[in-house]
């Protein structure tokens, strides 16, 4: 068991960043995640899909302990997530998260949003943090908005700021929870482009999304979840062209023919 956990599924020499073993989670009596086993390699891009309410958000929120799991183990970059606050902080430092509703801090400028964590968590000097922030804002193509407040930006711009904000912490893993589903159609592409760039740069990414085009372009693996279980996982073309499970077929037919 231990043996297999420390090796990847097909690529034994690559390093494993996230290990999830026999993990269960309940909300009160409700068994929301059931026996989740998942290893993520460094640099791997994983897309998680599944019907609404299947536990996708809960799963990736367990990885930075926004939600607590009750059984099994989650090890991120060698640190096991337990009640020990130190470990939790250690993991959160290394794991960036992008939310569906951006969750930018509306009372801070775009630049301050980006420098806050580097300054207060990583204890970087302000000048250095600002230089890094400008670099990442440039990379998400909005350096000219640095001194505006989030409320003055469009949704797509806000989400790109949110991505830049996470990147400023130089995370080893990025989690995305439906980053484009609150956006108007014409803004989805600008955000996906940024994410594709990021993927090309070798970032380890776990991404809950229904953008199947994105999954086909960047994903190394697509995971399908339903009712709290991982039903099926496969390489993207296998997953889309040759789904094994009936529920996967049903789901794919629903989202591809809408």
């Amino acid at each position: 068991m231990n043996e297999s956990a420390n090796k990847s599924n097909g690529n034994p020499e690559r390093e494993i960043v996230i290990v999830i073993r026999k993990m269960h989670k309940w909300y009160g009596q409700f068994h929301v995640l059931k026996d989740i086993n998942l290893n993520v390699e460094r640099g791997e891009k994983i897309v998680i899909c599944g019907p609404s309410g299947s536990g996708k958000s809960t799963l990736i929120r367990c990885i930075n302990r926004l939600e607590e799991h009750q059984d099994g183990e989650i090890i991120v970059d060698g640190t096991e997530l337990t009640n020990d606050l130190k470990n939790v902080e250690l993991v959160r430092r290394e794991v960036g998260m992008v939310f569906q509703h951006f969750n930018l801090f509306p009372h801070l400028t775009v630049l301050d949003n980006c420098t806050l964590a580097p300054i207060w968590v990583r204890k970087e000097p302000r000048e250095e943090a600002e230089a890094t922030a400008m670099e990442y804002l440039e990379r998400v193509k909005i350096p000219d908005q640095a001194n505006k407040f989030p409320g003055q930006l469009s949704g797509g711009q806000q989400q790109r700021v949110a991505i830049a904000r996470s990147l400023c912490m130089k995370p080893r893993v990025m989690l995305f929870d439906e980053p484009t589903s609150a956006l108007d159609p014409e803004m989805i592409k600008e955000v996906l482009d940024v994410m594709i760039e990021l993927a090309k740069g070798g970032m380890t990414m776990l991404c809950v999304t229904h953008e199947m085009g994105f999954a086909k372009t960047v994903a190394d693996r697509v995971i399908f979840m339903d009712e709290g279980e991982i039903i099926e996982q496969n390489k993207p073309h296998e997953f889309f062209d040759n789904p094994q499970h009936d529920r996967t077929k049903l789901f794919l037919s629903q989202i591809l023919n809408h």
Binding site: E89, R92, N103, F105, P106, H107, A117, W120, K148, R165
Partner: protein
């Protein structure tokens, strides 16, 4: 179909039609827009016509500004007798503070204004040093008012009038905000002891009338304290008023904390910020901003509640006024006295209210969608 004057894609930006801007448009939109509106406008004008001239007549045209007693005033004019206020002005302002030492109160008041400037105005020159001074102000003013260390000691029994109102009001306002914040955070804490303590503290102080607390402060505490300890009455009152206001403050701020979307807490957590850092930099700035109207409401309530100390024998402006009315020279001039005190309170409270509006405007960032 009617033809547009411009080709598609070439329509310029035009000014709005002239009948929608300017004073006439304003009158039309605001005073006579509907039959109900017309009736209300007419009624208001009639009401103002009845009230304003009579008031002006009483307060200024037909008022006596000098005189040694009520009878002298009445002999001169039938309206207000402001000579009464004039003669008692020092009593209203300083209470029974020794006359030779009153400069200390004046100085403390000036320093209060100096200390408030950097706190209230974020672009004040030398703000950083101003804030240091503001932190030192309570100690400096305490020394000025109480004496000792080279100044003649003055007993708190001799405090009174507007100066007493300011002492209680400013102390209560200064301390109730931080205590309220701590209680509000405590009430949301994961630690059961902290949470239960906060809840009971808030419920107790909010559930008991302030007058009761003041009575407890003035009499009952003596039973609990070891005999022989002297524990200044004013200090007890300050503590009670502060705790009372803190309980309200805590609930106001809790409202603000709950109004924040959960995503703000999650974003802060997901970046690895520690609890106090995320509270200080992310949660509280937003929660306090949302709570400004409620916070200022509590401040104003506290400020006006200072008049309750009359019950336990402290002479606030109303107390001074009542005792002055008891003077046979000035009996029957309660209109003047209450109006004068009301104006003092109104100016202070209106000032706070306007400042809160200014602050809300200033803190508004972008438009929420």
């Amino acid at each position: 179909m009617e033809q547009s004057a411009y080709k598609p894609g070439e329509h310029p930006n035009l000014p709005p039609p002239s009948n929608t801007v300017g004073p006439i448009a304003w009158v039309r939109a605001n005073l006579i827009s509907s039959p109900t509106n017309i009736v209300l406008t007419v009624l208001s004008i009639w009401f103002l016509y009845e009230i304003i001239p009579a008031t002006l007549e009483w307060a200024f045209m037909d008022a006596a500004f000098t005189g040694e007693s009520r009878d002298e005033c009445r002999a001169k004019a039938g309206g207000a007798c402001w000579a009464f206020i004039g003669e008692r002005f020092n009593l209203f302002t300083y209470g029974f503070y020794p006359a030779d030492e009153r400069w200390r109160i004046d100085l403390a008041f000036v320093l209060l204004c100096v200390a408030l400037l950097p706190v209230l105005w974020d672009r004040c020159p030398f703000r950083k040093y101003g804030l240091y001074f503001a932190c030192a102000f309570p100690f400096i003013s305490g020394w000025l008012l109480l004496g000792g260390f080279g100044l003649m000691p003055v007993d708190t029994d001799e405090f009174g009038g507007f100066m007493l109102t300011l002492v209680i009001g400013v102390t209560g306002i200064t301390f109730s905000l931080p205590i309220g914040i701590i209680l509000a955070l405590g009430r949301q804490s994961d630690m059961p002891i902290v949470r239960v303590f906060s809840i009971w503290f808030i419920e107790f102080f909010r559930g008991v009338p302030l007058i009761t607390l003041l009575f407890v402060a003035s009499t009952m505490l003596n039973y609990f304290l070891p005999t022989g300890t002297t524990f200044d009455l004013l200090l007890r009152v300050l503590i009670m008023v502060t705790l009372f206001a803190s309980a309200y403050m805590a609930e106001v701020i809790r409202g603000g904390l709950q109004a924040l979307p959960r995503g703000q807490y999650e974003a802060a957590d997901s970046m690895g910020l520690k609890y106090w850092t995320s509270m200080r930099l992310i949660i509280l700035p937003q929660a306090l901003k949302i709570s400004i109207p409620g916070i200022v409401n509590t401040f104003i309530g506290l400020y006006k509640d200072t008049t309750l100390v009359i019950i336990i024998g402290l002479l606030d402006p109303l107390g001074v006024g009542r005792s002055s009315l008891a003077d046979t020279k000035w009996t029957g001039l309660s209109n003047e006295m209450y109006l004068f005190v009301a104006i003092f309170f109104f100016i202070s409270c209106f000032g706070m209210s306007r400042y809160s509006l200014y602050l809300e405007k200033k803190l508004a960032t972008g438009y929420e969608r």
